[in-house]
Point group: C2
């Protein structure tokens, strides 16, 4: 297991780039000797920034990339035109087999497009889903898909369920994870056309632990481990999680400032409250993988700090060690002869 | 304005029926002399229960109904077969013009089906949307549609936007309410097929204040007054609101019990906290109207207490006074000759 995991890190993506990206990379290589980071971005800039840290020099290599893809740019165009951007250069390292994984806090759209166009899908995978972890009362659940490919077909959702189960079991360590499909009622006959068509297909799947529909109300309590839905609904769930949490917390804080009595109380509960709220902050759970690609692509939150970047990098090691892609390949197209053991 | 509003109340619907329904009716007629309640349910049972209250006798009338539709029953079948149920009898009163409005805390499915089948749609209305109010940082927004009719078409969403604007302006008193369509990004080119088709149609509407896409993250902060979406997404939003709120509150309460310090603090912040959480509880906002029907149909939360029932009944008066249905008729099919003034 002392194999090296090579991570291509987009040093220029996210609100806190390159500062926190670089710091996160340094933290990662200080923690683990089995990581090699290929950091993409303007060479001089990165060299200067890195020179301020002490770390095992041979574990971080700078790969020059002169352009940056901005968040607002139309992704398809950006990936096609900015061949020397930190995202495209890093993804090409994965494509060429020079890196095992890609990590970026940059433009979601560009990462999703680049993942498909540059890194490429595992044979048989129809769509690579973006699958963030969301906090629940019991720990975390995997929300799959939150990507950019809306209007999915039933066969896509079935693949999401399979890939999500593999991730949840092998990366998060949840044995035989339960799988639920997001629905507007618990009964099998409820739902929109997509859910009604997908439900019986999931029931037939032997390689997942499908438990039926999950209503949105029950997601935060941790009703299922793998929450399957198409990307539009997944996006609404992820964003509303943040939105409701954020507004509620603001309201609670405001309410505690309304009287002297509650102000004193607020001082006393503050540490406990802070820990809880952090626990329930979706952005704390680091990178969301884009599953089903020939290599691991991890999108971390745009506002990621070094801690999240470091966590995302270390997550790549587990991904490689657990041979997630080989497992996905076996489940998605089991009849294939190309049983690589590399 | 001293016209009487006649409300058909399903006394047998909801978790707390008939007790809280009856109590709510009594509270409503004690508060206002311009309400007449037609209460449906088993005559003897209701008579006995009512006899324990003092109230203006001529304002509550019992209309016998011997059957009850249970929440778990398939709605279409239940409406068709249980002709003498409290829901069907009450809805028929609206259909026959003997009542202006219908209020129930019973089976959502049966109310949605009955609303369309018995009460009937206003001419030109393609689908009657269920439109609950949801709490936001700024007050409330109207979430339209949360009903049972999923897989909507663009023309439905346009009608939802128009009807929702009328309701928000005339019932809630929000002048020129802003309208947003739920989307996975702020840009016009984002979205699924339904949203992409609907967006330009909403932009063309002269009778609404359309402000573009609204991301789920921004709904709780009150970014728009009327939140337009198809029912599957609306249901996910409504339920997740409850779910995230509920889980977060449980976690916060739990965290305050972890140390002596925070326990004392909890005692001090309790009243302020309680008020805030109540403020942010979707179930506090009483009835959700099913808009676009020949009469008002209001679905109150299944766990409604007398207070919510009373509020929902009084809401019917405003609905009649503000001539909401006439306004909907004018906007949906302005060319029609039937300009009733009754």
């Amino acid at each position: 297991m002392s194999e090296i995991t090579r991570v291509a890190l987009d040093a220029m993506g996210g609100d806190n780039a390159p500062g926190e990206m670089i710091k996160g990379a340094v933290e990662a290589v200080k923690q683990r000797g089995d990581i090699k980071i290929l950091m993409t971005g303007p060479e001089e800039l990165l060299e200067k920034a890195l020179s301020e840290y002490t770390y095992p020099k041979d574990q971080i290599e700078i790969v020059n990339a002169t352009e940056v893809i901005e968040t607002a740019e139309p992704p398809v165009m950006a990936i096609r035109r900015k061949k020397d951007s930190s995202i495209v250069v890093a993804m090409n390292l994965v494509k060429k087999g020079e890196a095992d994984a890609f990590v970026s806090a940059g433009s979601s759209g560009a990462i999703l497009v680049g993942g498909q166009v540059i890194v490429g899908r595992i044979k048989g995978v129809e769509r690579p889903p973006l699958a963030p972890l969301i906090p629940t009362a019991k720990g975390v659940s995997l929300l799959i898909d939150c990507g950019a490919n809306v209007d999915a077909r039933p066969s896509h959702l079935v693949q999401f369920a399979k890939m999500g189960s593999i991730y949840m079991e092998n990366i998060i360590g949840k044995k035989n994870p339960t799988v639920g499909i997001v629905n507007i009622g618990a009964e099998e006959e409820k739902g929109n056309a997509l859910v009604k068509e997908t439900f019986p297909l999931l029931k037939e799947c032997k390689d997942i632990n499908f438990v039926g529909s999950v209503e949105a109300r029950d997601i935060p309590s941790g009703a299922v481990d793998v929450v399957v839905c198409e990307a539009f609904v997944g996006n609404v769930i992820l964003k509303l999680y943040e939105g409701v949490g954020g507004t509620l917390i603001k309201k609670i804080k405001g309410s505690m400032m309304t009287s002297l009595r509650s102000k004193i109380g607020a001082l006393l509960v503050k540490p406990a409250l802070k820990a809880t709220l952090k626990d329930f902050d979706a952005s704390e759970y680091g990178g969301a993988p884009l599953l089903g690609l020939n290599g691991l692509v991890v999108k971390t939150h745009g506002s990621s700090t070094s801690k999240e970047v470091c966590n995302s990098i270390i997550q790549c090691v587990t991904f490689k060690e657990q041979r997630i892609n080989e497992k996905i390949r076996d489940v998605i197209s089991p009849a294939q002869e190309e049983k690589k053991e590399d």
